[in-house]
Symmetry: C2
Subunit: 336 residues, 2 copies
Amino acid sequence: MTVSVKDVAQLAGVSVGTVSNVLNRPERVAPATLQRVNEAITKLGFVRNAAASQLRAGLSRSVGLVVLDSANPFFTDLARGAEDHAASMGISVLVGNSGEDPAREATYLDLFEEQRVRGVMLSPVGDITARLERLRGRGIAAVLVDRHTRNTAFSSVSVDDVVGGQLAAGHLASLGRKDIAFVGGPMHIRQVADRLEGARMALAEAGLPEPRVIEVPSMTLLSGREVGRELARAPESERPDAIFAANDMLGLGLMQGLLMGSGLRIPEDIALIGYDDIAFAESAMVPMSSIRQDAADLGSRAMELLLEEAASGDGYEHRQVVTEPTLVVRASTRPA
Amino acid sequence: MTVSVKDVAQLAGVSVGTVSNVLNRPERVAPATLQRVNEAITKLGFVRNAAASQLRAGLSRSVGLVVLDSANPFFTDLARGAEDHAASMGISVLVGNSGEDPAREATYLDLFEEQRVRGVMLSPVGDITARLERLRGRGIAAVLVDRHTRNTAFSSVSVDDVVGGQLAAGHLASLGRKDIAFVGGPMHIRQVADRLEGARMALAEAGLPEPRVIEVPSMTLLSGREVGRELARAPESERPDAIFAANDMLGLGLMQGLLMGSGLRIPEDIALIGYDDIAFAESAMVPMSSIRQDAADLGSRAMELLLEEAASGDGYEHRQVVTEPTLVVRASTRPA
DNA sequence: CGAACGAAGTGAATCGTTTCAATCCGGGTG
DNA sequence: CACCCGGATTGAAACGATTCACTTCGTTCG
């Protein structure tokens, strides 16, 4: 029923060892033989059995990836970057979605362990240091994503949110705006706090006063719209002349609230910049400036670290890569 | 280095066959033995080697899924539905993203074939009937997604766009609107044509005239905004009193164009309904009604068909499942 | 001319699990 | 007391590719 190397060998009149060589190290096979074997392969429709191959080889040609939320474009881009890099090395990626649920995360790690993947890449939900140590004991490398770890026991990649905050606030300052508001929250989220800290640093450097901070319970369109409406109603003297929204959803909501039914103009009356650079930022009523985190690049670099660690032996020196986000200027902060 | 069933057997003082039974049919093992083996397993940290297991079993415990665009929420939801259903059967899903590229699609199918997956589920890019026939010859089932096939050689699941069009237009008619416009395009896209056809049917049934059709080159925010602006500028007598947008992006653009700088109100002056029910529809300036395709359900049912076909033998009778979308009413079509 | 060499190819052993025919054993039956 | 039954367990074969020590054979070189 199924076609194996043995059948191919028989038809081509060579040994199974030679067929294996054709499959894995064709350069060591004489051209004539190579052709004969390849013909037999296509004629029989032979397809290598990955299970048998992996069993003997001891390791698979795949790595695992667990993301927090597969509906979030950030993670789909990240996965794409990781897959592309892996594919270029002939490695395939098994993607699992934890949905922020530690149980599902654990299930996927179990699966990956059974598969004897080369390594796992994940944005952890709970504290899984112990679990990862165990994997490492099995020779499975692990790289953390998007969570800054002071823990140097693991390699990690993340984006520097302080720099992102500096870029955003610095840009507003460079437009000559003096009264800058930061909208975001809740403050205990590290990313939000870091972005605010970056903003503070940039303003201090520009000799401007502290930003006013408008804290919101969640960073959604709705929260933003509410804050936007309030600001639009406030007398001009009390309105900031620029706003830094801690993410794009919030920023888009702010834009709606500011523009709806008021005569305000963006950026003439108020400049506005968001964070994340989601697809909708570009197609907003006024195309919105933002801070872009190159998720695909992040994924690609994480995969690079992972494969590097997997390829090297025990004494691998773990690395923490922190990438810098970039400023994307659009109409919402472009001087007329 | 690695722990195998043999080690477990030794520590527990049983044979390897018994360990295998503990792993796969625990009910056939005496309770005392069961416990002893399980203790040995945890003590040694044994994890089954999937490659060896699959090799012997002949088939893997996974299925493949190739989606057209992993950035599209429709497909991430679809994948989630498929994964959930598969997980409940102890099957894992390998997800590949073709990005509408036939070459990448082929690469993933190769990979799945090597993995000896139980089946593949895919929204095909090119014509891959031949390829799928070959897979079937290998005992790998295939189910098509989201492309209506008259081809009864394969099972498929899809959403009935004609019904969706009827729902949308029928809803507008039920509000008492008389002059209804359909905005969408290009018309050669089957989904668009079907939605329009459904709309025509619903209006005819309600005794209303044909919808006016405004064709757009692409269904983007921008196209919508442009059309919306034109409509807002037109004299009231020439404006439709309701619009059916062939997808939500277009609908959101229309909303922006209609509201910006005009005194128009939605739904009082113009009712508006979209299609797809993307997340942004709910948080638009005026929450927008839409037609929801339950992608997760679609994925789940496709997986059901797939596993069913994979489990049954050759003479499987293929089924074409067409699901019906549902109407989601929000403020943009809600009578004040 | 014979030894040494290297390229090409061979084939048995191996990876870890599952399967299945065979064995074991305690207890019920005639 | 011999026999049988069936649940529990055993252990060797099998899955298919890869590896590696070994053979073959045509060349080259002293």
